[in-house]
């Protein structure tokens, strides 16, 4: 018994076909025009990318004023920018996504402990090394069964040795090549997490292999760890630019060379306690007359590793909350902003999708169903990534030369809205279907068009039904905003990782962060309960 359709259809809506977007994945990357240095000079800023979460000594919140950044790469960026006669401008990005930001044109330069590799050299312009790193094997002070790299290969207590590593790092490559099948690895996202886990012996971890500068910087914070053997696996930290920005790369090389020769780099590295003899092996140090002096900047001769003025200072308790709590609260603002912007859009798109599926002709209904399946069946993090990195490319293809782009916040809101729209669509569909058919019949019997009946009679009733489950989804969305850090949005969770890792106050700041999330979601919980209660009362009449 089908109710007759009248002329008035649901407004047309063609859902985004993510499949099409995915097809662009295979497109070759197009590089921005070859005018990097000019563009930077015109703009007056050098935009450089790094991940604060990676922590010291590279770039981390200043312990005395956590809203400011410090670290040797911050000073390096300053040095390079001065040389270009512009101001440095920091841009936060997740470490492994920094090359993508370079491709996107969001940043001019990556300065974040990126190692020189042949793969990277093929794709990007890599500067001369600003630092020569080595890898240090670390073991527990209390564990005297591990005294050399070779010990790693020997099973202890009948099981293979386990080494904690920073995922995707040169240390991982090295250990896997060295140990092969004889060593187990445990991958971590933060260098300090890996050291923490080793110190505590979590999940059977015996050792850690760390970039030497990180160990030098953090050694004081990990008294239960000790270096084992000489540093190994020498490699280069390089600045990374787009391949086409050759002028920029040449200028970076110029200033690095100068600063190596005149001791400025020496002073920067010494400040963070990471200068060592390996850096001198380049033999570049000259005096004002241009003659090789054999050792770096004479003024810095007296300095030793102990003279470092900046190093890891773990803090905790009430002080760390006082000092860094404000930053977390501010980042909670970003979490709220993302949520309250994305959710209404999600609900609106969800409604359109639900209507298309329920009342639309097949050419709207079928794509709407496909949309729901695709969006529900793929991870949010992938959707965000596609939107942030692929939409600009699409725009560039559709509107060539207009240099349209999408900023991280907008991409985050779009991604969250699209992701949640699939769920809201299903909730709305269920809600609309649970409205008795007699309501639609009564409405159209009064001469209403189908769309008017939907707008005035069906949707308002369905909306009251779907409010409680949607509020539940809103709470989930609050927490899902954490994923937005992959596209450079710093919200509460990301800020927590940054602050907790640099302060070593995982517990205190973790509790505060949890409290902030709770403070945001609890009122919504209360609201859901109240809505459900009202609805039940109404139903009972």
């Amino acid at each position: 018994m089908a109710v007759q359709c009248d002329l008035h259809r649901v407004p047309g809506f063609v859902p985004l076909a993510l499949v099409c977007i995915a097809a662009w994945l295979t497109q070759p990357l197009t590089s921005p025009a070859d005018d990097g240095l000019d563009r930077i000079r015109q703009r007056g800023t050098l935009v450089w990318g790094a991940d604060q979460e990676g922590g010291g000594p590279f770039i981390y919140p200043d312990p005395d004023n956590p809203s400011l950044l410090t670290g040797f790469e911050v000073e390096l960026a300053q040095l390079i920018a001065e040389h270009l006669d512009v101001k440095p401008q920091f841009s936060q990005g997740q470490w492994d996504k920094l090359p993508d930001l370079l491709d996107r044109g969001d940043i001019d330069l990556v300065l974040n402990g990126y190692e020189w590799t042949t793969n990277r050299a093929e794709r990007y312009g890599l500067s001369i090394p600003y630092y020569i790193y080595e890898l240090q094997l670390l073991g527990r002070v209390a564990d005297d069964s591990l005294t050399s790299w070779d010990d790693l290969l020997k099973p202890a207590d009948g099981r293979k040795r386990k080494v904690s590593l920073l995922g995707g790092s040169a240390a991982q490559d090295y250990v896997e090549r060295f140990g092969g099948d004889n060593v187990d690895v445990a991958l971590f996202e933060g260098a300090t997490d890996a050291m923490d886990a080793t110190e505590l012996g979590l999940s059977g971890i015996d050792a850690n292999v760390q970039d030497l500068p990180i160990w030098l910087f953090y050694a004081k914070g990990f008294p239960q760890l000790r270096p084992i053997g000489e540093p190994v696996g020498r490699g280069y930290y390089v600045a990374m630019a787009r391949k086409s920005d050759q002028d920029l790369l040449r200028a970076v090389n110029e200033i690095l060379l100068q600063a190596l020769q005149d001791g400025r780099l020496h002073r920067i590295f010494a400040k963070y306690g990471i200068w060592n003899d390996t850096q001198m092996m380049r033999g570049l140090e000259t005096d004002k007359s241009g003659g090789f002096v054999g050792s770096p900047d004479p003024a810095a001769d007296g300095e030793t590793k102990d003279a470092a003025t900046a190093s890891y200072q773990p803090s905790g308790g009430w002080t760390v909350i006082q000092k860094r709590g404000g930053l977390l609260v501010r980042s909670a603002g970003m979490t709220i902003l993302l949520s309250i912007t994305a959710m209404p859009i999600a609900v609106f798109i969800g409604l359109l999708i639900a209507l298309a599926r329920l009342y639309g002709p097949w050419y709207l209904g079928k794509p709407a169903a496909v949309y729901v399946e695709i969006v529900r069946g793929t991870p949010l993090v992938l959707q965000l990534y596609l939107i942030y990195f692929l939409v600009p490319k699409l725009l560039d293809i559709i509107f060539p030369g207009m240099e349209l782009t999408i900023n991280a916040f907008a991409a985050a809101v779009m991604g969250l809205a699209i992701n949640y729209s699939a769920y809201e669509a299903e909730i709305y569909r269920g809600g609309i279907q649970s409205i008795p058919r007699g309501q639609m019949e009564a409405a159209i019997s009064l001469g209403m068009s189908r769309s008017l009946a939907l707008r005035r009679i069906i949707i308002p009733q369905a909306t009251r039904l779907v409010l409680p489950p949607m509020t539940n989804d809103f709470i989930a969305l609050f927490k899902d905003t954490a994923v937005c850090s992959v596209i450079t949005v710093v919200e509460l969770s990301k800020q927590y990782y940054i602050q907790a890792r640099s302060a070593g106050a995982i517990v205190e700041l973790g509790l505060l962060t949890a409290l902030l999330y709770l403070a945001m979601s609890y009122p919504l919980s209360v609201m859901t309960n109240r809505l459900e209660k009202n609805l039940n009362q109404e139903r009972r009449g």
Partner: protein, 247 residues
């Protein structure tokens, strides 16, 4: 004038309406009687398009509704629905709106009346069905009889040429049935054209101008109530009436 000509409707192979024709003149009350499954409600619902039909035609004044689906039929239906109201067995009031809003909804949004005019008219109609004091109530808080009277008021607010009643008292107890029948009788007396599917025999007997007995998708017998109730010609009619009397 409402005229149904040779209406045929099938569900798959089964013919539920097998060529029904009837006329309802202005000011007339037409009652459809017959055993369950005889096609009464289905026939009623074809008139305002809640059911499609497979052949035949329906004329409401100058509007003709044909079987073939398409924009013409849709346009005709929209016109018919503005002129022909419907009252359902299950009331189908809008639960999220007050009684007054239920009545003003269509006049404001379909007839584009001003809110003031619609409210004024709605109050008059609510008084007429005896619910002047309930305008701010929610439908859920009313008794069945009160809800059905609101439904009638909602239909009346469209100033319809005819009202279709689809078993308006079948969901009600005897006392509230009486309330609704009284309102319907009052309407009939004022010359409102109505087509009523009902099991309320007394209403058919006392108020109808024409009674049609529908059986197995056909009109078995038609006539004024005196004839149908006092001197039924067809065996089907006799059987139906004696069963109704036993019930």
């Amino acid at each position: 004038m409402i005229e149904l000509t040779n209406i045929v409707k099938r569900y798959q192979q089964h013919e539920v309406l097998r060529g029904v024709s009837l006329k309802v003149a202005d000011g007339e009350v037409c009652v459809l009687l017959g055993p369950s499954g005889g096609g009464k409600s289905t026939l009623l619902r074809t008139i305002n398009g809640l059911e499609s039909f497979d052949s035949g035609s329906i004329r409401v004044s100058d509007i003709v509704l044909h079987a073939a689906a398409g924009p013409e039929r849709d346009a005709a239906l929209l016109q018919i629905r503005k002129r022909v109201g419907m009252v359902f067995q299950q009331f189908n009031l809008f639960p999220h709106r007050s009684v007054l809003e239920n009545v003003t909804e269509a006049p404001i949004h379909v007839l584009k009346q001003s809110r003031e005019a619609a409210v004024q008219n709605a109050r008059r109609i609510l008084a007429r069905v005896g619910l002047a004091d309930k305008e701010n109530a929610r439908p859920g808080s009313l008794s069945g009889g009160q809800q059905q009277r609101v439904a009638i008021a909602r239909t009346l607010a469209m100033n319809p040429e005819a009202i279709l009643f689809d078993e308006p008292t079948s969901a009600l107890d005897p006392r509230t049935t009486a309330e609704v029948i009284s309102v319907m009788t009052d309407l009939a007396a004022s010359g409102q054209r109505m087509i009523v599917v009902t099991h309320a025999m007394s209403f058919a007997r006392t108020v109808a101008h024409q009674v049609h007995i529908l059986h197995a998708g056909r009109i078995a017998e038609s006539g004024p109530p005196e004839q149908i109730f006092e001197a039924p010609q067809e065996a089907i009619t006799q059987e139906f009436l004696s069963e109704a009397a036993r019930a």
